[in-house]
Subunit: 255 residues, 2 copies
């Protein structure tokens, strides 16, 4: 039943100082000796599997999680039973920072594909941050980044049309995979069309149609979960709604 193998069990044991993600993750910018101290409060999880919950809305907040491998979606449930996807989280990304104030999680974190995480218990982290100023500094930076990222989502949801939203989303994934040493041109979507649509404030059908159209236009190739971005420049143009003209054709507005 267990999918644990010797290989990924070894992965899980890696200390922060040896972790390939340390450059993106909480230890970013810390000195070796400080990383070692941080490492001692971190606990590494056994793998979670698709549809497991890392935590659920209302759960007591124990600490923040760093994604090690795999991917996770966070979402909030609404009174009427519908959900709003808040984000998709890749290796090196931290989740749970929103729960510090309330002491309980305000969203649910659900596993999209087999995933390992590190738990950094919050009380210990806070104590350590007093002792290690550069850790406090790093926490402030991390939280600040999360806050400043918000404006991109507000622009996306407040101003962008469907084409721009999907293009922006794909470019974000592409760029994040690149940072993590994966291909920026080709990757697998660990989330469904439904989840993408939910996240982007669009209907599933719209996502589906857009994938089809982008493919017809030669911007990408999509086969189920697998996406290949054929024309990243075009996607960039679309995402910031510069006139999406390729050198060749006038935009649809001119007809």
């Amino acid at each position: 039943m267990s999918k644990t193998t010797i290989v990924n069990f070894n992965d899980l044991k890696i200390a922060c100082e040896n972790c390939s993600l340390s450059r993106l993750c909480l230890p970013m910018g810390l000195e070796q000796s400080d990383i070692e101290r941080l490492d001692q409060i971190v606990s590494r999880s056994k793998p979670y599997h698709r549809n497991d919950y890392l935590f659920r809305e209302g759960d007591t907040f124990k600490g923040i999680y760093a994604v090690k491998t795999g991917s996770i979606k966070t979402y909030v449930s609404r009174e009427d039973g519908s959900d709003q996807v808040l984000g998709f989280h890749l290796p090196g990304e931290i989740i749970g920072l929103d729960a510090i104030e309330a002491g309980v999680h305000g969203c649910t974190a659900k596993i999209l594909e087999t995933t390992a995480v590190c738990l950094i218990p919050y009380e210990k982290l806070e104590k350590l941050s007093v002792e290690i100023p550069s850790l406090q500094h790093q926490m402030f930076r991390l939280m600040s980044r999360e806050i400043s990222n918000e404006s991109n989502m507000l622009i996306l949801l407040g101003k962008k049309n469907a084409d721009e939203r999907l293009a922006t989303f794909l470019l974000s994934l592409s760029q994040r995979y690149k940072q993590r040493g994966f291909s920026s041109q080709e990757f697998n979507l660990s989330m469904s069309r439904n989840e993408i649509g939910n996240y982007l404030g669009l209907a599933v059908e719209t996502i589906s149609r857009l994938f089809t159209r982008f493919q017809d236009e030669g911007i990408l190739k999509v086969e189920r979960k697998h996406v290949e971005l054929l024309d990243i420049e075009a996607l960039k143009r679309i995402s910031s709604h510069c006139s999406q003209n390729d050198s060749s054709s006038k935009s649809s507005a001119s007809i």
Copy 2:
């Protein structure tokens, strides 16, 4: 020309420990002695006036600001020249936390009405946070709250219709005014219809029509900038799109 009077000049000089906003603001939960230390790094501004900039996108980040009186909007400019309003900030609220990581402001803060702020220089604040664990704690809480508030905006922009958006917005103002000791039923909007629409991802005309309709339905009274909420329960029902029926009438959908 200057609107400064003896009264508000005195207001400006108030130390954190005597400030009526300390309960909402950065000093929240700090001990007297710690507040005094915080107080020593805070600098109080002279009043800013409508359309002044507190800071602009790209400005070097000096520190975070606490609104003391008045109100401020923050927004980002897009490549095509349009703006996205990120928020409206009332007394006791902190702005600038998003700039910690980048070291430059990623948004512009523009004064909506005569406003005084406190500047908390960031380097000093960070140093002090190492010395005063409860200040560090408070900073983490503050940033966490900002992060968790994001989900409300994502729900609003991702899932809510125009009625729900405006109702949610008015209730948010109402509740924030209440916390600050003002009436929750009656207040002045310091922002234009345009700015409300921009913030909520709606056209000005839609905002205007909604105000008219809400007024016709007896939910509120609006006269230019002045708003009186006559039926807060109805607004709550609308904002979470429970069937918006008052006991009396069927919703418009039933005709």
